[in-house]
């Protein structure tokens, strides 16, 4: 099956640790899907203006083809840390790997919105 290469973005802010681990997870999942893990667009969010412009609801934010791997649920835009909910219910500073994988898969296969 021919695969598209969705735009993969990781937005981070220095006030929250862990974004490098998030980057590792995204790269691993991209590799597993045959995508180029070097193609990820990693951008630092430095100011409130940056956050507004990017629609940044916290660090790390990971988008695949513009789709957030766990769309924020009314979280305000700003320089803050993302609170993710893992599939087993635990709170985490990082998204569930399965959410990353599923979003990559859906976008790679053309999306299923």
């Amino acid at each position: 099956m021919a695969r598209g290469s969705p735009t993969v973005e990781l937005l981070w802010w220095e006030g929250c640790p862990g974004w490098e681990r998030a980057l590792e997870i995204v790269r691993e999942e991209m590799s597993a899907l045959g995508l180029d893990p070097g193609a990820i667009d990693v951008r630092e969010i430095r100011t409130g203006e940056d956050a507004e412009r990017e629609g940044f609801a916290g660090s790390p934010t990971i988008r695949v083809g513009g789709r957030d791997v766990q769309p924020p649920d009314g979280e305000p835009i700003g320089l803050t840390c993302r609170v993710y909910r893992l599939r087993d219910g635990r709170i985490s500073p990082l998204p569930d790997r399965a959410d990353v994988r599923d979003t990559l898969s859906k976008e790679t296969e053309g999306g299923d919105d």
């Binding site: 006030g15 929250c16 640790p17 305000p76 320089l79 840390c81 609170v83 635990r90 709170i91 985490s92």
Partner: protein, 180 residues
């Protein structure tokens, strides 16, 4: 961005006098009044603080019968982080079953005095109010099974009259959000 001078293990704890979410002012106990005291910085918006919260609640409940008091402190700038406002703190205490007061450090002076860097940042004081442990609750915020083991070890050793063998660990979490 960090403005604080570190509180050293072995040193006397800085003073603490802060209101809780009902406006009641709390201080450290008098020397000899409590067998140990745990002071920890936390907040509402940080996933690390949230992930560790239940473990700290459980530790507070477990050690209360042994004369250990817990104080939670939020020093974050509520203007930039509305989820850490006094109203949001009050709402959380009301909705959850907190066994310790949630203190509001609106001036951020306590965070500066103590050298709090992140949320959570845990300090254990002995009965004479000297710092005997400083750092994270346990090695892994993602593993509830860790059960605040570093904090518990420090308390167990302290309450047994022994030296705390692991007196310092690296606190892990979101930076304290200083006013700009």
């Amino acid at each position: 961005m960090a403005e604080a001078a570190a509180t050293k293990v072995g040193a006397p704890a800085p003073a603490l006098e802060l209101p809780d979410t009902d406006g009641n002012v709390h201080t450290l106990p008098m020397p000899g009044e409590a067998s140990a005291t745990v002071v920890f910085w936390t907040c509402n918006h940080c996933p690390y603080a949230l992930a560790w919260h239940e473990r700290l609640v459980q530790a507070a409940n477990d050690y209360a019968p042994r004369g250990v008091g817990f104080l939670a402190v939020n020093s974050n700038d509520a203007e930039r982080f509305p989820r850490d406002s006094l109203d949001a703190m009050r709402e959380r205490v009301r909705d959850e079953d907190w066994p310790f007061p949630y203190l509001h450090d609106s001036s951020q002076q306590a965070a500066r005095d103590w050298g709090a860097q992140v949320t959570p940042h845990v300090y254990v004081l002995d009965s004479e109010l000297r710092v005997r442990y400083e750092g994270a609750p346990d090695p892994d915020h993602m593993d509830p099974g860790q059960n605040a083991v570093w904090l518990r070890e420090a308390l167990d050793e302290l309450l047994a009259g022994r030296r705390v063998s692991r007196a310092e660990t690296k606190p892990v979490g979101c930076s304290v959000k200083w006013k700009q």
